[in-house]
Protein backbone atom coordinates (compact mmCIF):
# COMPACT_ATOMS: atom_id res chain seq x y z
CA UNK A 1 0.00 0.00 0.00
CA UNK A 2 2.81 2.38 0.97
CA UNK A 3 4.66 1.44 -2.18
CA UNK A 4 1.64 2.27 -4.30
CA UNK A 5 1.24 5.51 -2.44
CA UNK A 6 4.87 6.47 -2.99
CA UNK A 7 4.61 5.54 -6.61
CA UNK A 8 1.53 7.73 -7.04
CA UNK A 9 3.26 10.65 -5.29
CA UNK A 10 6.34 10.25 -7.45
CA UNK A 11 4.30 10.04 -10.65
CA UNK A 12 2.25 13.03 -9.55
CA UNK A 13 5.35 15.14 -8.86
CA UNK A 14 6.91 14.12 -12.17
CA UNK A 15 3.70 15.09 -13.98
CA UNK A 16 3.72 18.46 -12.21
CA UNK A 17 7.24 18.98 -13.51
CA UNK A 18 6.08 17.85 -16.95
CA UNK A 19 3.29 20.42 -16.78
CA UNK A 20 5.82 23.12 -15.90
CA UNK A 21 7.87 22.13 -18.95
CA UNK A 22 4.75 22.18 -21.10
CA UNK A 23 3.94 25.66 -19.87
CA UNK A 24 7.44 26.96 -20.40
CA UNK A 25 8.43 25.40 -23.72
CA UNK A 26 5.31 24.38 -25.64
CA UNK A 27 3.84 27.60 -27.01
CA UNK A 28 2.88 26.81 -30.59
CA UNK A 29 0.00 29.21 -30.92
CA UNK A 30 -1.94 31.58 -28.62
CA UNK A 31 -5.02 29.47 -29.32
CA UNK A 32 -3.73 26.32 -27.65
CA UNK A 33 -2.52 25.62 -24.12
CA UNK A 34 -1.64 22.13 -23.02
CA UNK A 35 -2.70 21.08 -19.56
CA UNK A 36 -2.83 17.86 -17.59
CA UNK A 37 -3.44 19.49 -14.21
CA UNK A 38 -7.22 18.85 -14.11
CA UNK A 39 -6.85 15.15 -14.84
CA UNK A 40 -4.07 14.89 -12.26
CA UNK A 41 -6.38 16.28 -9.58
CA UNK A 42 -9.14 14.03 -10.89
CA UNK A 43 -6.88 11.00 -10.48
CA UNK A 44 -6.02 11.67 -6.84
CA UNK A 45 -7.02 8.41 -5.09
CA UNK A 46 -10.67 8.32 -4.08
CA UNK A 47 -9.83 7.56 -0.45
CA UNK A 48 -8.30 11.07 -0.16
CA UNK A 49 -10.83 13.44 1.41
CA UNK A 50 -12.18 16.57 -0.28
CA UNK A 51 -10.19 18.72 2.15
CA UNK A 52 -6.87 17.14 1.18
CA UNK A 53 -7.84 17.13 -2.50
CA UNK A 54 -8.38 20.88 -2.25
CA UNK A 55 -5.05 21.38 -0.51
CA UNK A 56 -3.21 19.24 -3.10
CA UNK A 57 -4.89 21.09 -5.95
CA UNK A 58 -4.04 24.46 -4.42
CA UNK A 59 -0.39 23.57 -3.84
CA UNK A 60 -0.08 22.02 -7.31
CA UNK A 61 -1.59 25.08 -8.96
CA UNK A 62 0.63 27.46 -7.01
CA UNK A 63 3.76 25.40 -7.80
CA UNK A 64 3.04 25.54 -11.53
CA UNK A 65 2.18 29.25 -11.27
CA UNK A 66 5.39 29.98 -9.42
CA UNK A 67 7.83 27.86 -11.39
CA UNK A 68 6.34 28.07 -14.83
CA UNK A 69 3.96 30.74 -15.93
CA UNK A 70 4.57 33.69 -13.66
CA UNK A 71 0.89 34.57 -13.09
CA UNK A 72 0.63 33.63 -9.44
CA UNK A 73 -2.76 32.24 -8.45
CA UNK A 74 -4.07 31.55 -11.96
CA UNK A 75 -3.67 27.75 -12.08
CA UNK A 76 -4.62 27.46 -8.40
CA UNK A 77 -7.83 29.45 -8.94
CA UNK A 78 -8.80 27.31 -11.96
CA UNK A 79 -7.84 24.01 -10.33
CA UNK A 80 -9.79 24.41 -7.09
CA UNK A 81 -13.24 24.15 -8.75
CA UNK A 82 -12.07 20.89 -10.35
CA UNK A 83 -11.09 19.61 -6.92
CA UNK A 84 -14.40 20.54 -5.26
CA UNK A 85 -16.45 19.09 -8.14
CA UNK A 86 -14.36 15.93 -8.44
CA UNK A 87 -16.49 13.72 -6.19
CA UNK A 88 -19.79 14.90 -7.71
CA UNK A 89 -18.47 14.29 -11.22
CA UNK A 90 -17.08 10.85 -10.43
CA UNK A 91 -20.38 9.80 -8.84
CA UNK A 92 -22.36 11.22 -11.75
CA UNK A 93 -20.27 9.54 -14.45
CA UNK A 94 -18.96 6.35 -12.81
CA UNK A 95 -21.49 5.83 -10.01
CA UNK A 96 -20.71 5.39 -6.28
CA UNK A 97 -18.43 2.39 -6.86
CA UNK A 98 -15.06 4.22 -7.04
CA UNK A 99 -15.67 5.73 -3.59
CA UNK A 100 -17.29 2.70 -2.01
CA UNK A 101 -14.44 0.42 -3.09
CA UNK A 102 -11.79 3.15 -2.91
CA UNK A 103 -10.53 2.33 -6.37
CA UNK A 104 -9.07 4.56 -9.03
CA UNK A 105 -10.62 5.57 -12.33
CA UNK A 106 -9.06 3.59 -15.18
CA UNK A 107 -9.86 3.28 -18.85
CA UNK A 108 -9.67 -0.48 -18.54
CA UNK A 109 -12.35 -0.70 -15.86
CA UNK A 110 -14.74 2.07 -16.88
CA UNK A 111 -14.22 2.26 -20.62
CA UNK A 112 -12.86 4.97 -22.89
CA UNK A 113 -16.21 6.70 -23.38
CA UNK A 114 -16.85 7.43 -19.71
CA UNK A 115 -13.25 8.39 -19.00
CA UNK A 116 -13.22 10.66 -22.05
CA UNK A 117 -16.42 12.32 -20.89
CA UNK A 118 -14.87 12.94 -17.48
CA UNK A 119 -11.70 14.35 -19.06
CA UNK A 120 -13.70 16.67 -21.29
CA UNK A 121 -15.85 17.99 -18.47
CA UNK A 122 -13.13 18.66 -15.92
CA UNK A 123 -10.66 20.00 -18.48
CA UNK A 124 -13.36 22.29 -19.91
CA UNK A 125 -14.14 23.65 -16.42
CA UNK A 126 -10.44 24.27 -15.80
CA UNK A 127 -9.76 25.85 -19.20
CA UNK A 128 -12.80 28.08 -19.07
CA UNK A 129 -11.90 29.53 -15.66
CA UNK A 130 -8.21 29.73 -16.54
CA UNK A 131 -8.71 31.56 -19.81
CA UNK A 132 -11.38 33.94 -18.55
CA UNK A 133 -9.12 34.95 -15.64
CA UNK A 134 -6.04 35.01 -17.87
CA UNK A 135 -7.62 37.28 -20.49
CA UNK A 136 -9.09 39.51 -17.72
CA UNK A 137 -11.60 41.11 -20.04
CA UNK A 138 -8.98 42.12 -22.61
CA UNK A 139 -9.96 39.55 -25.23
CA UNK A 140 -13.35 38.87 -26.87
CA UNK A 141 -15.32 35.91 -25.60
CA UNK A 142 -15.10 34.22 -29.00
CA UNK A 143 -11.32 34.11 -28.64
CA UNK A 144 -11.65 32.52 -25.20
CA UNK A 145 -14.15 30.01 -26.56
CA UNK A 146 -11.89 29.10 -29.48
CA UNK A 147 -8.91 28.72 -27.18
CA UNK A 148 -10.87 26.56 -24.75
CA UNK A 149 -12.12 24.27 -27.54
CA UNK A 150 -8.74 23.85 -29.22
CA UNK A 151 -6.91 23.41 -25.91
CA UNK A 152 -9.51 20.88 -24.85
CA UNK A 153 -8.85 18.74 -27.90
CA UNK A 154 -5.07 19.05 -27.56
CA UNK A 155 -5.06 18.35 -23.83
CA UNK A 156 -7.33 15.34 -24.19
CA UNK A 157 -4.54 13.16 -25.63
CA UNK A 158 -2.12 14.17 -22.87
CA UNK A 159 -4.79 13.63 -20.23
CA UNK A 160 -5.40 10.07 -21.43
CA UNK A 161 -1.68 9.44 -21.07
CA UNK A 162 -1.61 11.00 -17.60
CA UNK A 163 -4.60 9.01 -16.39
CA UNK A 164 -2.85 5.86 -17.52
CA UNK A 165 0.30 6.76 -15.60
CA UNK A 166 -1.51 7.79 -12.40
CA UNK A 167 -3.96 4.88 -12.23
CA UNK A 168 -1.31 2.47 -11.06
CA UNK A 169 -3.80 0.13 -9.36
CA UNK A 170 -4.75 -1.15 -12.72
CA UNK A 171 -1.24 -2.31 -13.42
CA UNK A 172 -0.61 -4.18 -10.15
Amino acid sequence: MTGMKNRFVLTYVLLVIAQMLLCNYFHFTPYIMLTILPIMVFCIPTRVSVFWTLIIAFVTGLAVDYFAEGIIGLNAAALLPVAILRRTLIEAIFGPEPFEQEENITVKKYGLAKVSLAIFIITAIFLLIYNIADCAGTRPFIFILAKVCLSLLASYILSLLAINLLSYDDRR
Binding site: V50, F51, G61, I72, A76, L80, A136, G137, T138
Partner: protein, 274 residues
Protein backbone atom coordinates in the same frame (compact mmCIF):
# COMPACT_ATOMS: atom_id res chain seq x y z
CA UNK B 1 -22.86 6.39 5.02
CA UNK B 2 -19.25 7.56 4.65
CA UNK B 3 -18.31 10.22 7.14
CA UNK B 4 -17.26 12.60 4.36
CA UNK B 5 -20.79 12.74 3.08
CA UNK B 6 -22.10 14.31 6.25
CA UNK B 7 -23.50 17.81 6.06
CA UNK B 8 -20.83 19.23 8.37
CA UNK B 9 -18.11 17.72 6.22
CA UNK B 10 -19.65 19.23 3.08
CA UNK B 11 -19.96 22.66 4.66
CA UNK B 12 -16.36 22.41 5.85
CA UNK B 13 -15.17 21.43 2.36
CA UNK B 14 -17.06 24.30 0.76
CA UNK B 15 -15.65 26.72 3.34
CA UNK B 16 -12.11 25.51 2.62
CA UNK B 17 -12.77 25.78 -1.11
CA UNK B 18 -14.00 29.36 -0.76
CA UNK B 19 -11.04 30.24 1.45
CA UNK B 20 -8.47 28.81 -0.98
CA UNK B 21 -10.23 30.24 -4.03
CA UNK B 22 -10.31 33.69 -2.46
CA UNK B 23 -6.62 33.31 -1.57
CA UNK B 24 -5.83 32.37 -5.19
CA UNK B 25 -7.81 35.29 -6.56
CA UNK B 26 -6.17 37.70 -4.12
CA UNK B 27 -2.74 36.47 -5.20
CA UNK B 28 -3.81 36.75 -8.84
CA UNK B 29 -5.08 40.26 -8.29
CA UNK B 30 -2.08 41.46 -6.28
CA UNK B 31 0.55 40.15 -8.67
CA UNK B 32 -0.93 41.15 -12.02
CA UNK B 33 -2.07 44.58 -13.18
CA UNK B 34 -4.58 43.38 -15.79
CA UNK B 35 -6.25 41.03 -13.36
CA UNK B 36 -6.32 43.74 -10.67
CA UNK B 37 -8.09 46.14 -13.05
CA UNK B 38 -10.43 43.38 -14.16
CA UNK B 39 -11.37 42.48 -10.58
CA UNK B 40 -11.83 46.16 -9.76
CA UNK B 41 -14.15 46.57 -12.72
CA UNK B 42 -16.16 43.48 -11.74
CA UNK B 43 -16.37 44.52 -8.09
CA UNK B 44 -17.45 48.04 -9.06
CA UNK B 45 -20.08 46.56 -11.35
CA UNK B 46 -21.36 44.28 -8.61
CA UNK B 47 -21.38 47.11 -6.08
CA UNK B 48 -23.23 49.40 -8.47
CA UNK B 49 -25.77 46.68 -9.15
CA UNK B 50 -26.17 45.97 -5.43
CA UNK B 51 -26.60 49.64 -4.57
CA UNK B 52 -29.03 50.07 -7.45
CA UNK B 53 -31.08 47.11 -6.27
CA UNK B 54 -31.05 48.23 -2.64
CA UNK B 55 -32.12 51.72 -3.77
CA UNK B 56 -34.94 50.17 -5.81
CA UNK B 57 -36.08 48.12 -2.81
CA UNK B 58 -35.86 51.16 -0.55
CA UNK B 59 -37.74 53.20 -3.13
CA UNK B 60 -40.44 50.56 -3.39
CA UNK B 61 -41.02 50.48 0.35
CA UNK B 62 -41.10 54.27 0.56
CA UNK B 63 -43.70 54.53 -2.22
CA UNK B 64 -46.56 54.63 0.26
CA UNK B 65 -45.06 57.63 2.06
CA UNK B 66 -44.31 59.34 -1.24
CA UNK B 67 -47.86 58.70 -2.45
CA UNK B 68 -49.27 60.20 0.74
CA UNK B 69 -47.10 63.26 0.27
CA UNK B 70 -48.11 63.54 -3.38
CA UNK B 71 -51.79 63.23 -2.47
CA UNK B 72 -51.43 66.10 0.01
CA UNK B 73 -49.48 68.14 -2.52
CA UNK B 74 -52.10 67.41 -5.16
CA UNK B 75 -54.84 68.55 -2.84
CA UNK B 76 -52.95 71.74 -2.04
CA UNK B 77 -52.40 72.48 -5.74
CA UNK B 78 -56.06 71.78 -6.57
CA UNK B 79 -57.10 74.27 -3.90
CA UNK B 80 -54.67 76.76 -5.40
CA UNK B 81 -56.09 76.24 -8.89
CA UNK B 82 -59.62 76.72 -7.59
CA UNK B 83 -58.65 79.96 -5.86
CA UNK B 84 -57.06 81.23 -9.10
CA UNK B 85 -60.18 80.25 -11.05
CA UNK B 86 -62.30 82.22 -8.64
CA UNK B 87 -59.88 85.13 -8.71
CA UNK B 88 -60.25 85.19 -12.48
CA UNK B 89 -63.96 85.87 -12.00
CA UNK B 90 -63.08 89.08 -10.20
CA UNK B 91 -62.49 90.71 -13.56
CA UNK B 92 -66.13 89.93 -14.34
CA UNK B 93 -68.25 93.09 -13.68
CA UNK B 94 -70.90 90.81 -12.11
CA UNK B 95 -68.41 89.37 -9.58
CA UNK B 96 -69.02 89.90 -5.89
CA UNK B 97 -66.55 88.98 -3.12
CA UNK B 98 -68.82 86.39 -1.57
CA UNK B 99 -68.69 84.44 -4.83
CA UNK B 100 -65.06 83.64 -4.11
CA UNK B 101 -66.23 81.04 -1.62
CA UNK B 102 -67.92 78.31 -3.64
CA UNK B 103 -69.00 76.55 -0.46
CA UNK B 104 -66.96 73.37 -0.90
CA UNK B 105 -64.25 72.07 1.38
CA UNK B 106 -61.71 69.50 0.14
CA UNK B 107 -60.26 66.72 2.31
CA UNK B 108 -57.57 64.35 0.95
CA UNK B 109 -58.22 60.70 1.82
CA UNK B 110 -56.95 57.21 1.15
CA UNK B 111 -59.09 54.22 0.26
CA UNK B 112 -58.39 51.52 2.82
CA UNK B 113 -60.94 49.00 1.57
CA UNK B 114 -63.16 48.69 -1.45
CA UNK B 115 -65.16 46.25 -3.48
CA UNK B 116 -65.40 46.21 -7.24
CA UNK B 117 -66.87 42.88 -8.19
CA UNK B 118 -70.52 43.28 -7.33
CA UNK B 119 -73.38 45.48 -8.47
CA UNK B 120 -73.36 47.33 -5.13
CA UNK B 121 -69.77 48.31 -4.56
CA UNK B 122 -68.54 50.37 -1.65
CA UNK B 123 -65.45 52.16 -0.35
CA UNK B 124 -64.04 52.75 3.10
CA UNK B 125 -61.84 55.83 3.50
CA UNK B 126 -59.41 56.78 6.25
CA UNK B 127 -61.16 60.05 7.10
CA UNK B 128 -64.06 60.39 9.54
CA UNK B 129 -66.03 62.90 11.57
CA UNK B 130 -62.84 64.05 13.30
CA UNK B 131 -61.65 65.27 9.91
CA UNK B 132 -64.89 67.06 9.17
CA UNK B 133 -66.47 64.38 6.98
CA UNK B 134 -70.26 64.17 7.11
CA UNK B 135 -72.89 62.07 5.37
CA UNK B 136 -73.50 62.87 1.68
CA UNK B 137 -70.05 64.28 1.03
CA UNK B 138 -68.86 63.64 -2.51
CA UNK B 139 -65.68 61.76 -3.37
CA UNK B 140 -63.65 62.73 -6.40
CA UNK B 141 -60.27 62.44 -8.06
CA UNK B 142 -58.82 64.79 -10.69
CA UNK B 143 -60.26 62.32 -13.23
CA UNK B 144 -63.81 62.10 -12.06
CA UNK B 145 -66.43 61.19 -9.51
CA UNK B 146 -65.79 58.21 -7.25
CA UNK B 147 -68.71 57.96 -4.86
CA UNK B 148 -70.80 59.45 -2.07
CA UNK B 149 -70.22 59.16 1.68
CA UNK B 150 -73.01 57.14 3.27
CA UNK B 151 -71.93 56.66 6.90
CA UNK B 152 -69.29 58.23 9.07
CA UNK B 153 -67.44 57.07 12.17
CA UNK B 154 -64.85 58.98 14.15
CA UNK B 155 -61.87 58.02 11.96
CA UNK B 156 -63.40 56.36 8.90
CA UNK B 157 -66.22 56.79 6.48
CA UNK B 158 -68.21 54.32 4.42
CA UNK B 159 -69.07 55.41 0.90
CA UNK B 160 -71.24 54.07 -1.87
CA UNK B 161 -69.07 53.73 -4.93
CA UNK B 162 -70.08 55.22 -8.27
CA UNK B 163 -69.80 51.58 -9.37
CA UNK B 164 -73.09 50.92 -7.63
CA UNK B 165 -76.28 50.58 -9.61
CA UNK B 166 -78.15 52.67 -7.03
CA UNK B 167 -76.00 55.76 -7.53
CA UNK B 168 -76.89 58.51 -9.98
CA UNK B 169 -75.10 61.82 -10.28
CA UNK B 170 -76.13 64.85 -12.21
CA UNK B 171 -73.94 65.32 -15.29
CA UNK B 172 -73.77 67.71 -18.23
CA UNK B 173 -72.55 67.35 -21.80
CA UNK B 174 -70.13 70.16 -22.53
CA UNK B 175 -71.19 71.08 -26.07
CA UNK B 176 -74.96 71.12 -25.67
CA UNK B 177 -75.32 71.80 -21.96
CA UNK B 178 -77.83 68.96 -21.68
CA UNK B 179 -78.10 67.62 -18.16
CA UNK B 180 -79.13 64.15 -17.04
CA UNK B 181 -78.45 61.47 -14.44
CA UNK B 182 -75.22 59.57 -14.97
CA UNK B 183 -75.04 56.00 -13.67
CA UNK B 184 -72.57 53.14 -13.83
CA UNK B 185 -73.21 50.77 -16.73
CA UNK B 186 -72.89 47.79 -14.37
CA UNK B 187 -70.33 46.10 -16.59
CA UNK B 188 -67.00 47.88 -16.94
CA UNK B 189 -64.87 49.68 -14.33
CA UNK B 190 -64.67 52.65 -16.70
CA UNK B 191 -68.11 52.67 -18.30
CA UNK B 192 -71.23 54.73 -17.50
CA UNK B 193 -74.54 55.75 -19.06
CA UNK B 194 -75.92 59.28 -19.24
CA UNK B 195 -79.71 58.99 -19.28
CA UNK B 196 -82.74 61.13 -20.01
CA UNK B 197 -81.07 63.51 -22.45
CA UNK B 198 -83.87 65.13 -24.46
CA UNK B 199 -83.70 64.40 -28.18
CA UNK B 200 -83.55 68.08 -29.12
CA UNK B 201 -80.11 68.41 -27.50
CA UNK B 202 -77.45 67.60 -30.05
CA UNK B 203 -74.07 66.29 -29.06
CA UNK B 204 -71.08 64.75 -30.77
CA UNK B 205 -69.38 61.51 -29.72
CA UNK B 206 -66.15 62.60 -28.06
CA UNK B 207 -67.71 65.52 -26.15
CA UNK B 208 -66.60 65.79 -22.55
CA UNK B 209 -69.07 65.07 -19.77
CA UNK B 210 -68.83 67.17 -16.58
CA UNK B 211 -70.64 67.30 -13.26
CA UNK B 212 -73.55 69.69 -13.63
CA UNK B 213 -73.35 71.25 -10.18
CA UNK B 214 -77.12 70.81 -9.85
CA UNK B 215 -76.78 68.68 -6.74
CA UNK B 216 -75.52 69.70 -3.33
CA UNK B 217 -72.92 66.94 -3.41
CA UNK B 218 -70.54 67.74 -6.29
CA UNK B 219 -69.38 71.13 -7.50
CA UNK B 220 -69.84 71.86 -11.22
CA UNK B 221 -67.33 71.25 -14.01
CA UNK B 222 -65.49 68.21 -12.70
CA UNK B 223 -64.57 66.29 -15.87
CA UNK B 224 -66.00 62.78 -15.74
CA UNK B 225 -65.61 61.16 -19.14
CA UNK B 226 -66.12 61.16 -22.89
CA UNK B 227 -69.50 60.74 -24.55
CA UNK B 228 -69.85 57.81 -26.89
CA UNK B 229 -72.68 56.23 -28.85
CA UNK B 230 -76.31 56.93 -28.00
CA UNK B 231 -79.58 55.10 -28.34
CA UNK B 232 -83.12 56.42 -28.23
CA UNK B 233 -85.24 55.25 -25.30
CA UNK B 234 -89.04 55.10 -25.76
CA UNK B 235 -88.74 57.58 -28.60
CA UNK B 236 -88.34 60.42 -26.10
CA UNK B 237 -84.81 60.60 -24.72
CA UNK B 238 -81.28 59.64 -25.58
CA UNK B 239 -79.19 57.28 -23.49
CA UNK B 240 -75.52 58.04 -24.08
CA UNK B 241 -72.62 55.74 -23.30
CA UNK B 242 -69.81 57.46 -21.39
CA UNK B 243 -66.21 56.31 -21.20
CA UNK B 244 -65.02 57.42 -17.75
CA UNK B 245 -61.62 59.11 -17.34
CA UNK B 246 -61.12 57.39 -14.01
CA UNK B 247 -60.61 53.64 -14.04
CA UNK B 248 -62.23 52.54 -10.79
CA UNK B 249 -60.17 49.38 -10.58
CA UNK B 250 -56.95 51.34 -9.83
CA UNK B 251 -57.84 53.72 -7.06
CA UNK B 252 -55.99 54.59 -3.89
CA UNK B 253 -55.99 58.35 -3.27
CA UNK B 254 -59.15 60.45 -3.46
CA UNK B 255 -60.53 63.79 -2.29
CA UNK B 256 -63.64 64.13 -0.17
CA UNK B 257 -65.76 67.17 -0.96
CA UNK B 258 -67.89 68.63 1.74
CA UNK B 259 -70.53 71.15 0.75
CA UNK B 260 -70.55 73.55 3.68
CA UNK B 261 -73.90 74.91 2.52
CA UNK B 262 -75.60 71.55 2.04
CA UNK B 263 -77.74 71.98 5.17
CA UNK B 264 -78.89 75.39 4.01
CA UNK B 265 -79.81 74.02 0.58
CA UNK B 266 -81.64 71.07 2.15
CA UNK B 267 -83.56 73.39 4.46
CA UNK B 268 -84.75 75.69 1.71
CA UNK B 269 -85.63 72.65 -0.41
CA UNK B 270 -87.74 71.06 2.34
CA UNK B 271 -89.42 74.38 3.18
CA UNK B 272 -90.59 74.78 -0.40
CA UNK B 273 -91.71 71.16 -0.63
CA UNK B 274 -94.00 71.72 2.38
Amino acid sequence: MPKERSVVSRIFSIAIFILLEVASLVMLSNNNRFQRLWFARISHGVMAKTWGTSQSIHGYFSLRKQNDELALENNRLQSLVRSYQLAAHESDPMFRPEMADNGFRYIPATIIKSSSNSQHNYLILDKGSDDGVVQNCGIITPDGVIGIVDAVSKHYCYAISFMNTEVNISARIDSSGAVGPLAWDGISTSGAVLKEIPLQYKYNPGDTVYTSGYSAIFPPDIPIGIAGDARVINGATNEIKVKLFQDHSALKYVTIIQNTRAAEIAEIESRNEQ
